[in-house]
């Protein structure tokens, strides 16, 4: 492989990797947010993403909304489904027991339910968002490196949403309450935080971010009931960054996106998933708490 060809592939794959990583980050941050408050892995998170993807698809094709309105509707729908999931499935369990294992199993059930509701109602086939939803232009950065406009868009939108989340968490009263609850949910409740409302807000935000990720994934690939399985990558990113840490989730996601795209570019795309899972296992062996994780001993 000639040097400049290798270099341009490298650049190309780095940009693709960052774009993919930013979509993972949107999903991983929501997942990590829920983990930081309730200390369980919410396997239904992928379902929220599918709800967002389908809502966007139907709003675009059936009601003729533009992408902005359709996305807003999709994000709202996902947020509502996330809050409903918490209220109907997790809250009754939380009130009965403190064993997070039960929440984990229930979340698997919810994930299966959401996936199969879509299989039954709309069928299992792959649907593409309308062609002109996102800009399809290609920029050339010289020496053979090209960038899709949609990749730049997904990167930019992810940065905006993650920045907004950061502002929400650091500047608002509810953000402060969420950070307090991440330290200790019970104590936060004793200090006068409305825990039930707080958990609702956390789930709404998580669902909202998952939907944004879902819309980009539906545009990039297509939408189908099992699209939510991709959250497994976001889980891995969150673990690599450190469960419950939001900067960790972002860093892990970018690393994972880069690793995937560089593997696809230089080795083979079949190896992508093996590399991802090997990274997870290697990280757990060397540093189980991830880059920014804390208190492994406590999180049992």
């Amino acid at each position: 492989m000639p040097l400049n060809f290798a270099l341009s592939t490298l650049f190309q794959q780095i940009i693709n990797g960052l774009s993919l990583g930013s979509v993972y980050a949107l999903i991983a941050v929501g997942y990590s947010l829920v983990y930081s408050i309730l200390l369980f892995s919410n396997f239904a998170h992928g379902g929220f993403l599918v709800v967002g993807g389908y809502a966007c698809y139907y709003l675009l094709t059936q009601s003729g909304y533009g992408i902005v309105l359709a996305s807003a509707g999709a994000v709202l729908a996902s947020g509502v489904v996330a809050v409903l999931t918490e209220r109907l499935a997790y809250k009754p369990i939380r009130e009965r027991t403190s064993t997070t294992l039960y929440l984990l199993i229930a979340s698997m059930g919810v994930s299966i339910v959401i996936e199969n509701i879509f299989v039954i109602v709309v069928g299992g086939r792959f649907r593409a968002l309308p062609q002109d939803t996102f800009p399809s232009g290609v920029f050339s950065l010289g020496s053979g490196v090209t960038v899709n406009a949609s990749d730049i868009l997904s990167l930019a939108v992810a940065v905006i949403f993650l920045g907004a989340l950061q502002l929400f968490l650091s500047r608002t009263r509810w953000g402060l309450a969420i950070r307090a609850a991440a330290c200790d949910l019970r104590t936060a409740g004793l200090m006068g935080v409305n825990v039930s409302l707080l958990i609702g807000i956390v789930f709404f935000v998580a669902g909202l971010l998952a939907a944004v990720g879902g819309i980009f994934l539906s545009a990039k690939y297509s939408i189908y009931p099992q699209l939510g399985n991709i959250t497994i990558k976001a889980f891995i990113a969150a673990v690599i960054g450190g469960l419950g840490s939001l900067p960790g989730a972002v860093l892990g996601s970018l690393l994972l996106g880069l690793a995937e795209m560089l593997t696809a570019g230089f080795i083979s795309s079949q190896m992508r998933d093996i590399v991802v899972f090997s990274m997870l296992v290697a990280m757990l062996l060397v540093r189980p708490a991830g880059f920014f994780g804390k208190r492994v001993g406590d999180k049992i």
């Binding site: 369990i93 009965r96 984990l104 199993i105 229930a106 059930g109 339910v113 062996l285 492994v296």
Partner: protein, 284 residues
């Protein structure tokens, strides 16, 4: 007994064997796994390759399937059993998926995603029942043995158990190896019943099902595991006609059970402790 009923009996035996393995690990040792379908895959592929490619008799091939699963579990267990809680569960997802992906990509050896056809029907009803009976007797003796008590002690309080002089790391490892053996055997039997195996049969969904069945039956109850596995297997089989709704019902069942009765059908008691006249109640 018709062919269909016979098939259900065979499937019941196969699923119960795998579920007992996972129950020993999750219910009795407290190690939550989401990757045990990979051990079934290892058993299935070992037995299939040995019988089809090398013409080896099915009995040593099935046992070899269990042993290969044990060997891989040992390699994986040494580093990962240090992890606890969600971290082990997530590591087990990664390992399970990695094993499945290797089987899927090692074309020359496993025929990859197309699957491995032409396996002899060595798993007849009698063989399945025989394996199930022997392994069940062994398992029930095991959980009442010294090792069984050690596992339960380290599940309930690992620190206290190690202060009592138990080597909790070693006993956790033994539980993992035994559970891998059960899953390996179960996979090998499955291959002999289906005549065809494919890496996608052993994905995360299957692993989830194994763990869910154990939780459904009751963590810490081996008879509960068998009951849960029997109920889930037969419900899934008899609802095959409405396959679209089957998975939906299964998912709802998981949620409803967790909400209504998180301790599972039998909790941590064995089924005979519910019989009249047995007030003492053997606790798991």
């Amino acid at each position: 007994m018709g062919g269909y009923q016979e098939g259900i009996v065979i499937l019941l035996c196969i699923n119960c064997i795998a579920a007992m393995g996972v129950s020993l690990l999750t219910g009795f040792t407290g190690i939550f796994t989401l990757g045990h379908a990979a051990y079934m895959a290892l058993g299935a592929y070992t037995a299939a390759i040995m019988t089809v490619r090398y013409g080896i008799h099915w009995l040593p091939a099935i046992l070899a399937g269990g042993i290969v699963a044990v060997a891989v579990a040992w390699m994986i267990g040494v580093p990962t059993l240090r992890l606890t809680g969600d971290y082990y569960a997530i590591a087990s997802i990664g390992l399970g998926e990695a094993i499945r992906l290797i089987l899927e990509n090692w074309q020359s050896f496993t025929r990859g995603a197309r699957g491995f056809p032409g396996i002899d029907s060595y798993t007849t009803r009698n063989i399945a029942v025989a394996f199930f009976t022997v392994l069940t007797i062994l398992m029930f003796n095991l959980i009442d043995s010294r090792l069984g008590r050690e596992l339960k002690a380290s599940r309930d309080d690992r620190l206290a158990a190690s202060l009592m002089g138990f080597n909790t790391t070693a006993s956790r490892m033994k539980a993992l190896l035994l559970s891998a053996f059960y899953c390996g055997i179960s996979g090998a039997l499955l291959g002999g019943y289906m005549n065809f195996i494919q890496p996608s049969m052993f994905d995360m969904m299957k692993s989830t099902e194994l763990t869910a069945v154990v939780v459904f039956g009751g963590l810490g109850s081996m008879s509960g595991t068998l009951l849960g596995s029997a109920i889930v297997t037969s419900v899934m089989e008899y609802f095959r006609d409405i396959s679209q709704y089957r998975m939906l019902i299964y998912g709802l069942l998981l949620v409803v059970i967790m909400v209504v009765r998180p301790e599972g059908l039998l909790g941590n008691r064995e089924i005979w402790s519910f019989l009249p006249g047995n007030g003492s109640g053997r606790r798991g």
